[in-house]
């Protein structure tokens, strides 16, 4: 036997291992198969449960919900929808969805499906692909689905079922299998069949309900027909009686047996039956139409009665005519009463027509409205108009302002709130367009229950009466109003002077309260009699025969002047029956006249004074060393003084020759005057003083410089009144001015040279000085020196230091004035720290340097100048410290203040006395002579600050300390012009 080699064994082992592991996969297949069988069993159970549930009584929407849920249960899909279109024509679907479908999804689905229900219904179960679902059903996000539509022609409904899965929501199955189609198809048929049965069952139930309802109705009708007080006749389609009720028998005296098979006309109609009515009835019956008509009939005893007959043809469901049903009512009594009312109404109407009274009557229940001819004429109602026509036409005639009251009255009458009313209202009569005034009366009529059943009324045209009354009232009011409104006093008296009328103004003017005491025996004298008890006539003057001026002292002591005019009153026969007196207050007129006279006198006096003043000022102006010319606001030449006339002969001549000449007329071709004219125009326009210089040649041909001033002179109200032009010869002044300018230029040149000299000297001096300092320093290190020599060396070094300091300051000053600004972005804190560092060894131990930087960012400034500035000020703080206090210090605070950079240097040193504070920035000023110094430091500071365009301020308390506040601009332009401007402002 061959021994298997190792390799072969290993291969076999691996093969075996694979078989072993794969056995579990095979085993799983078996389990799956077994599980599927179990699932199918479960499936049938679920289907059975659906069948049982769906057979229960429920609404259609609940049934559809059950269907949707069953689809999910049976197919284990994630979403399902059931949609029912109840008829092909009805576009409104009944829709139920379950799972991850949204209402929007299904709404689109409905619209899509409804486009062609039958097309979808023919296709059977469809397995929908993702693309199909998206394009056909407009549903995104689903990967597969099943769809079936069922159309029931008999029930005219279609049922659409759709079941969907998507990859995203992890379906139980990655894809739907054929068995799912089978299950879906079976279920869909099952559900459709149940739905069809439900629909049929519903229809049958509805039909049974209709029949039951009909039976109930029939029973009720039968009862009504039997028991009603009206006679009821049922005939066949030929009009032969099949049945009559008890009431018919009572009314006519005929029994059912007697009339069975007969036609009613054969025994009910008689000689007084109206032929016209009879024809109408026959025609309606022939045409199988319903009719309501009143006929004169006869009962069995031969009694005539009025029969209100309502006949209705009856048709079966197929539309065949099978019966007539007639309901008759004996209306004999009502007819007689009605005819009597008509006759009474007719009589009443005739009376109303004769007296021109419009009459109308409205029945509320029927809306019927009747009116007589008068109203018809008044409102232009054409014959044959209906009630509505009348209301429309009459309403259109009524004045819009009066209509609301009229409408309200009608409403109150109709509602029973009032029983009658009277109103006047206006209408526009259509026949002639005239406005007429109508007096209307309104009445309501109630029935036995107290309900308003009828409203009636009358209308009477009272326009003429009202017009006359109105005119009379208007005339009287006008007359009275006129008398009361005039400012004249008026008294009407009888022949004995007893006042029969007086107006309020008379009382107001005279304060005479009892005008009856004015006895006028004769006109007009006695009116002035002293018998005026309420006042005193001081004087009077006859102006004309019956016109007087009277001065009267009134009851309150005041004076009044009256102009009195009287005239007799004549009666119808021309005889004098009394007097009318008019009183006019002329107090103010008299006062005015007097004032006028005074004013005229004052005017003359004023004119005299003005002329005197004018001459005085003219003489002054003529003595003035300046030329003066005055224009008015329209630039007319008004005045020129003597000097102006002499120096500007053209103006002088023009003034003498023409009155009202304007400056523009004088200008002509003279260039100088043209300039003057333009300047005057500008000055007037700007309304401000304007000055300019001009040159001219005098009478000796010498060149003159004239300073012209143009002053627009305004009155108190601000209006331009005059323009005053003056001219002053400034030729000598100009010459002096030129001298000054020349000398100033010379001085500047000398100063500049001096600056250069100082700078050069200082610079040149410093080099050898520093050499001397160095040598002295080395020599002072010599150890062989005795104390005296060492002291001398120390003094020599101190003096050299002071001299170097002085030269340094002179150089600083010189640099500041000589060099341009060098602006750069710098941290101020860095500059301060450097200064602190430089000065640290100049201060004793324990002296504190503090910095508070609130800016913390770069600022634009001249680094060198600011360093020099701070070195001086902080150096002073160190120099003038107080060693006797516990915490000698200097503090620098940096911050932004508005548009400035603020640097505050605060120390607690010896301070500056009040008298010296103002001088510390002066050159060579030294407030404290106990400490060495040149007196140049703060002077240089001020110059630097001026150069930087900043400000410096010092507050100091002797013995407490000083605060120097420096404000530097935070912005500069490239040229530095702003800097200079700022400096100038400061």
């Amino acid at each position: 036997m061959d021994q298997p080699d190792y390799k072969s064994l290993l291969e076999q082992y691996r093969e075996l291992q694979l078989r072993v592991t794969r056995f579990s996969a095979t085993q799983q297949e078996l389990i799956n198969t077994r599980d599927r069988l179990d699932q199918e069993l479960e499936l049938y159970k679920r289907l059975n449960r659906f069948s049982q549930d769906s057979l229960a009584e429920m609404s259609t929407s609940r049934f559809l919900q059950l269907v949707a849920e069953a689809m999910i249960e049976l197919l284990e899909v994630e979403s399902a929808a059931a949609i029912l279109f109840r008829s092909v024509e009805n576009p409104e679907p009944l829709l139920v969805h379950e799972g991850h479908l949204t209402s929007e999804n299904t709404s689109v689905l409905c619209t899509t499906l409804n486009t062609d229900v039958r097309k979808h219904a023919k296709t059977g179960v469809q397995l929908l692909s993702s693309e199909h679902i998206q394009t056909e059903f407009k549903l995104a996000e689903f990967s597969q689905g099943l769809y079936l539509a069922y159309y029931d022609e008999e029930g005219d409904f279609s049922l659409h079922l759709i079941a969907l899965i998507s990859q995203g929501n992890a379906p139980l199955y990655p894809s739907l299998l054929p068995r799912h189609q089978t299950i879906f198809g079976v279920f869909a048929q099952h559900a459709s069949a149940i739905l069809a049965n439900r629909q049929k069952r519903k229809q049958i139930t509805q039909q049974i309900a209709v029949i039951q309802e009909s039976e109930r109705e029939l029973r009720k009708l039968s009862l009504i027909a039997t028991k009603t007080k009206n006679g009821v006749i049922i005939t066949d389609n030929q009009g032969r009686i099949e049945w009559v009720n008890q009431s018919f028998e009572q009314t006519t005296g005929y029994t059912l047996i007697e009339v069975l098979g007969k036609k009613p006309r054969d025994f009910l109609q008689g000689p007084h039956t109206d032929d016209e009515a009879r024809k109408k009835l026959s025609e309606a019956l022939r045409n199988k139409e319903g009719i309501e008509i009143t006929l004169v009939n006869y009962d069995k005893s031969g009694r005539l009665y009025y029969n209100l007959l309502e006949i209705t043809p009856v048709f079966d469901d197929a539309g065949n005519h099978i019966n007539f049903i007639a309901v008759q009512k004996d209306i004999t009594e009502e007819t007689i009463i009605k005819e009597e009312i008509i006759r009474a109404n007719s009589r009443f109407e005739r009376i109303a027509n004769k007296s021109g009274i419009g009459v109308w009557e409205s029945t509320l229940e029927t809306g019927a409205l009747i009116w007589n001819k008068v109203l018809a004429q008044l409102y232009a109602i054409p014959p044959g108009s209906t009630a509505n026509d009348f209301r429309t036409l009459a309403s259109a005639c009524i004045n819009a302002d009066d209509r609301p009251l009229l409408d309200e009255t009608m409403i109150r009458l109709r509602s029973g709130e009032i029983d009658d009313a009277e109103l006047e209202f206006r209408i526009r009569r259509p026949s002639d367009g005239m406005t007429r005034i109508i007096y209307g009366t309104f009445l309501s009529e109630r029935n036995g229950l107290g309900e308003v059943v009828r409203v009636l009324g009358s209308s009477l045209d009272i326009t003429e009466e009202r017009t006359v009354e109105e005119r009379l009232r208007a005339g009287e009011a006008k007359y009275r109003g006129l008398i009361e409104s005039v400012s004249l006093g008026l008294v009407e008296s009888d022949l004995n002077g007893n006042a029969v009328y007086y107006n309020k103004q008379f009382i107001s003017l005279t304060q005479i309260t009892v005008p009856a005491l004015l006895v006028l025996n004769e006109m007009p004298e006695l009116v002035l009699s002293s018998r005026v008890s309420d006042g005193t006539i001081l004087s009077y003057t006859r102006v004309e025969d019956s016109v007087f001026e009277v001065d009267l002292r009134r009851k309150d002591g005041s004076l009044i002047s009256l102009l009195l005019s009287s005239a007799p009153v004549l009666d119808e026969n021309g005889s004098k029956s009394g007097y009318i007196c008019l009183y006019v207050d002329i107090t103010s007129t008299k006062l005015l006249r007097k004032n006028l006279e005074t004013a005229l006198q004052e005017r003359d006096e004023f004119l005299r004074k003005v002329n005197t003043t004018k001459h005085f000022y003219e003489s002054i102006l003529n003595q003035s060393p300046s030329e003066m010319l005055v224009l008015d606001s329209s630039m007319k030449l008004l005045y020129a003084n003597q000097l102006m006339r002499e120096n500007e002969p053209l103006i002088g001549r023009m003034l003498d020759l023409y009155v009202g000449l304007k400056l523009s007329d004088v200008v002509t071709n003279d260039e100088r005057l043209k300039v003057l004219f333009e300047k005057v125009q500008l000055s007037m326009q700007l309304q401000q003083l304007m000055q300019f210089e001009e040159t001219r040649e005098d009478s000796n041909n010498q060149r003159q410089t004239i300073l012209r001033s143009i002053l627009p002179y305004k009155n108190k109200a601000g209006g331009l009144e005059y323009v005053i032009i003056s001219g002053t010869d400034i030729s000598p002044l100009k010459r002096i001015q030129q001298d000054v300018i020349d000398k100033n230029e010379e001085l500047k040149k000398i100063n500049a040279e001096l600056d250069n000299f100082v700078y050069s000297i200082s610079h040149d001096l410093r080099s050898p000085l520093l050499s001397i300092k160095g040598i002295l320093g080395m020599v002072s290190e010599e150890t062989t020196f005795d104390d005296q020599n060492r002291q001398l060396m120390s003094m020599a070094l101190d003096s050299t230091d002071r001299l170097d300091g002085t030269i340094q300051e002179i150089l600083d000053y010189s640099r500041n004035s000589r060099t341009e600004l060098r602006l750069s972005e710098v941290f101020l804190a860095d500059i301060v720290k450097n200064v602190f560092s430089d000065l640290r060894y100049a201060a004793p131990e324990g002296f504190m340097f503090r910095l508070e930087d609130r800016i913390k960012e770069k600022v634009l400034t001249d680094n060198y100048r600011v360093a020099t500035l701070l070195k001086n000020i902080i150096g002073n703080a160190v120099k003038y410290r107080r060693d006797t206090i516990a915490d000698p210090h200097v503090e620098v605070v940096l911050e932004r203040v508005d548009e400035y950079i603020s640097i505050q240097v605060i120390d607690n040193g010896s301070g500056i006395s009040e008298k010296n504070v103002g001088k510390v920035f002066d050159m060579f000023f030294r407030a404290n002579i106990t400490v060495t110094g040149t007196g140049l430091g703060l002077y240089i500071c001020r110059e630097i600050i001026n150069r930087l365009g900043g400000k410096i301020n010092v507050n100091s308390i002797p013995g407490k300390g000083s605060t120097f506040t420096i404000l530097l601009p935070s912005e500069y332009d490239q040229s530095g012009n702003d800097l200079m401007k700022l400096a100038a402002d400061h």
Binding site: Q17, S24, Q27, I31, R34, H100, N169, P174
Partner: protein
Amino acid sequence: MLTFHSASARVVNSGRAMTECLEVAMGNSIQEADLIVFHASIGHDFAELARTAKQLAPNARLVGASCCGVVGREGVSESMKDIAVMAITGKDFVLEHTDGIYGSNSYEKCLEMARRMKAESADINMVYFMASGIDIANDRCIAAFEEVLGSDVTIFGATSSDNMKGFISYQVVDEQVTQHGAFAIGFTDKSLKVDTQATHGFVAIGEPLVVTKSTGHIIHELNNKPAWTEYLNRLGLAASATCGDTIPVGALGEELNDALAAEYGNRHILRVVTSHTGDDMYYATDCPEGTKLWLTTRDEDLIFREMAQMVMKMKDRMQGKTPVAVFHADCLARGRFLFNRIIKEELVGIMQTPFYTNGECPPWLGMYGFGEFARLGGLNTYHNYTSALYVIYR
């Protein structure tokens, strides 16, 4: 003091499903619920479930997760429309949640949650943890909780799932629905204790696959070959097979030491692969190179025997106390795709009946998910392919 009330149902409409469960669980006292925990199979509309629960119990906090099926007092159900609810009254709990949890950040996310929980209460004695079942490193989650709360605090719960497709899983906290979220309930009722244990009943077969290249929980190579291809090859499945195809037959076992094997009743602890990208397999825990992974096969006798043994052990540990509630997590691979309905019901009967009191099942909330948490050898441990019971007693 916490009280527990449960119910489960199979109702297609999500709103009605939640309503029915809460009505059965709480009767007329739904509004008294302080915390509602639910599991629902993937076919449900989770937003609708949350809305309905909030409407019915506006004062209650709500947490839930998707699963492949549920187990309740009413029995087991696996369909697209299952739901099980545990409604709890009482304030003795803290609830924290997170979103955006993946394998790469599982530790950090859980650490944050654990810290927040501890900040809320220092009395947490057990944690019910539920996370996304897709791309998560569960052992890292355990490590994070233990770091903050200590290893004495028992972590029990599961990972949420879909229908074993490995596409998606949902988590719900109040009305927020997430796909990569996690939540943790820290129970602070000191009168309560929890006992946990898991069992699977699988047998390792053949030679192990050796992890030759891995990063964290991602296995790149097995036996020096591309991992996923080698895995499918050993299973005899086509290259087109999905995770859903491998889960029922592809349980991977890691060998336990003797002590743990004795407690576990099995030599191997099982792991599942829920996702793969190309040849990279997403393992459920960290998987260092050199780890040996055995393919396994189920043994029905062993499954039943181990289940009975586990329940008896738990009963013994309870020492006669009455359970107030049982939470239960089962691997979905033990559900529809592994056992038929009858076997499942028998298994559930074995696990439920011993805990009955006076013939009545205690409040029970069980679900079929991707993985389970239960102590093993006294340590909080993550399992796959197991039935894990969390018996809470007082």
